[in-house]
């Protein structure tokens, strides 16, 4: 039993063990300990990633700890660890070198929390996993720089985070009370009950904080400004993705509405998420337009991106009409691409110094493309990807989310609302271009004031920036390369939807089995097992082809062991 559990949780166990050893390495004296810690942190993540890539079918041990490996957890492991590797590279060279090992260890703990969020099959474990993402993040913000601003950011981040955690715990207590069990896969909520409504509202408040969605977005700019740039780049990915995954897990507890193979959350939840998504996109962009500090602009743009991801979350897993209509798949692709581009943009700020202090304002960036063309190129590429400029990866992500929102089927009860939300998202994408272009224009201006210099002795940071830049562009030119890796298959029991979905699972099964036999390997979820790559890659490029024949829309393994 314990061995089964250890095998099922191997990547998370490796991360947590590795993080502890990185902390110990930090206690060793001097530079030797610190560079050992950095190498150890990178090796830990690489080993965890290798374990994920070589893993066989996920097993689901019961009765010991409530763990459920699924297509979602496989997908989150892959993209979390890949982008996590970049985050470690970028964060390995920050200010306050004496706390480098602590910083890297906190990132590893946070990463383990993200992976556990997708893996948890128990309300308590889900709560603890979300907090395992957040608590190290509070520490990271506070220790990322030595000055008072980081301390202020840490205090602000901690209080809002603790409030949201407490709200979430209170909400979870109602969800437990309404069902009498904490096992997620055994819970089916009835949204008409008052307790369930209170519980869901409070739980989603916690999720909204992690995602930086309205009305829990106010901390974002202050925290990103106070933290070092590399830590801000991390904050744009790990907590955000953890919030989204927790949101998916909560939505899966609800009975779906909608006819045929159309997934729709119940109306009150739909209305709440709709309003939050629309407000998050709009408010994030308006606040972004008013700022002059690049870190704050990127922070507000992160709020707007959270809104776009909420649109994809709201479209949800749609099985008919091909991957272009699948909101969950679009969501994972978008989160990956956004995480990399955001990290790259913040990483360039981490690399730059304007007159001995970190570059932060638009004026600081003047002359960047002339003095340091490569750093300028990285920043411009990442900003274009955030903006959604073709042919970057951000363009494919935005297009995919919009296409999914616009192509909801006739069976969708709130079809008009979904179309309106798509229009709002499209308008916001255009508005956001204004402040992104201000950053690009600032880089191209002639140099004015204090000379911009690149911090020396940062090979890993530069390598990380190259990787971020590539990840911000290449999937735009060749989406099929990244697509299959970001595919979240439903849990073994399928998404909780109308009866049509379960029929769809049945119809998907034969194709999946044929595929498994073909590759001579028990591919459990395409994003989990590399063997399944060709299947999805064969369906090629969503940027080019808008409508597909229905592919093997659901997991090849069908309803699974449950």
């Amino acid at each position: 039993m314990i061995l089964d559990l250890a095998r099922c949780m191997a990547p998370e166990l490796v991360l947590i063990t590795g993080a502890t050893f990185v902390l110990l390495a930090g206690a060793l004296a001097g530079d030797a300990g610190r560079s050992l810690g950095r190498r150890l942190a990178l090796a830990t993540t690489a080993v965890a990633l290798a374990l994920v890539l070589t893993a066989g079918p996920p097993e689901t041990p019961r009765n010991l700890l409530e763990i459920q490996a699924s297509g979602l957890s496989g997908c989150v492991r892959l993209i979390g660890l890949s982008v996590g590797l970049l985050i470690l590279l970028v964060n390995g060279y920050g200010p306050t070198p004496e706390e480098r090992c602590e910083r890297l260890a906190m990132i590893l703990y946070s990463l383990a929390g993200l992976l556990l969020t997708a893996l948890a099959d128990d309300l308590v474990l889900l709560f603890l996993a979300i907090e395992l993402v957040s608590v190290p993040a509070y520490v990271l913000v506070a220790i990322s720089r030595g000055d008072i601003r980081a301390q202020e950011a840490g205090v602000k981040y901690f209080f809002l985070g603790a409030l949201s955690a407490a709200l979430m715990a209170y909400g979870f207590s109602f969800l437990y009370g309404a069902t009498g069990t904490t096992v997620l896969s055994a819970i089916s909520l009835r949204p008409e009950a008052t307790g369930v409504r209170i519980g869901l509202l409070l739980a989603f408040a916690g999720v909204a904080f992690k995602m930086a969605a309205v009305p829990f977005h106010l901390y974002v700019a202050d925290v990103y400004e106070g933290a070092s740039a590399a830590v801000a780049g991390m904050l744009g990915f790990l907590p955000k993705l953890a919030g989204l995954v927790a949101g998916i897990r909560l939505l899966m507890l609800l009975p779906g509405e909608g006819s045929g193979a159309v997934w729709v959350p119940p109306l009150p939840v739909f209305a709440m998420l709709w309003a939050v998504a629309a407000a998050t996109m709009t408010i994030g962009n308006v606040l972004g337009l008013l700022e002059g500090n690049v870190k704050r602009i990127l922070a507000w743009s992160g709020v707007a991106h959270a809104g776009t991801m909420l649109v994809a979350l709201l479209v949800g897993p749609q099985t008919e009409g091909g991957p272009m209509r699948d909101g969950s798949w679009a969501l994972m692709f978008y989160a990956t691409v956004y995480g990399a581009a955001n990290l790259g943009a913040f990483g360039v700020l981490e690399l730059l110094e304007a007159g001995g202090r970190p570059a932060e304002t638009l004026e600081d960036l003047a002359g960047l493309t002339r003095r340091h063309p490569w750093a300028g190129l990285a920043l411009v590429v990442c900003v274009f990807s955030l903006m959604g400029m073709p042919p970057t990866a951000g363009f494919v992500g935005k297009l995919w989310v919009l296409a999914a929102a616009f192509s909801v089927g006739d069976g969708h009860p709130q079809r008009t609302a979904m179309l309106v939300l798509g229009v709002i998202a499209a308008i916001n994408a255009a508005v956001a271009a204004a402040y992104y272009l201000r950053i690009v224009a600032a880089c191209c201006l002639p140099p004015e004031r204090a000379p911009l210099t690149l911090r020396s002795g940062t090979p890993g940071l530069r390598l990380g920036l190259v990787a971020c830049g590539l990840l911000a562009v290449l999937p735009g030119l060749w989406p099929a390369g990244l697509l299959p890796w970001t595919r979240p298959d439903p849990l073994p029991g399928g998404w909780p939807t109308g009866k049509g979905i379960h029929a769809a699972i049945g119809s998907g099964e034969p194709e999946g089995k044929a595929h498994s036999a073909e590759t001579g390997r028990q591919a459990v979820c395409p994003s989990h097992a590399a063997a399944a790559m060709p299947m999805s890659a064969g369906h090629a490029n969503p940027a080019v082809e808008l409508v597909f024949n229905p592919p093997c829309a659901f997991s090849p393994h069908g309803p699974g062991p449950r």
Binding site: L123, V124, F127, L128, E131, V135, Y138, V139, A142, D147, I148, R149, Q151, E152, A153, G154, V155, K156, F158, F159, A162, L163, A165, A166, L167, A169, Y170, F172, S173, F174, Y176, G177, G180, T181, T182, L218, A221, D222, E225, G226, R296
Partner: protein
């Protein structure tokens, strides 16, 4: 006088929750705000244990409450460390004094 029912515990939890929220909004002292957070977490604990007794089978609710207590302790440790740093720079734990970041 009727006997004590689930509703009594839920009302107690709701009262604790409101007290905690009010404390967080009103207090300017960082430690005071932390106490507010603890109150809200304890509201969740009261709910969990009460639901476990009246609705659940087994000890899920009680176990969950234990985990929430552990989390509260971990959060408090991190919080105190952050406050210490804040205090070293400003020689106060009044959160309104941290106003360098615009917003």
């Amino acid at each position: 006088m009727g006997s004590i029912t689930l509703m009594h515990y839920l009302v107690l939890g709701a009262l604790l929750f409101c007290c905690g929220l009010l404390t967080m909004v009103v207090k300017r002292n960082a430690v005071g705000i932390l106490i507010g957070v603890e109150l809200v977490l304890n509201a969740a604990n009261v709910n969990l244990v009460a639901f476990g007794r009246y609705r659940g089978a087994g000890i899920d609710g009680q176990a969950a409450a234990l985990f929430v207590i552990v989390l509260a302790a971990a959060e408090a440790a991190v919080a105190i460390a952050i406050f210490m740093n804040f205090y070293r720079h400003l020689t106060t734990v009044d959160v309104d004094r941290g106003d360098l970041l615009r917003g």
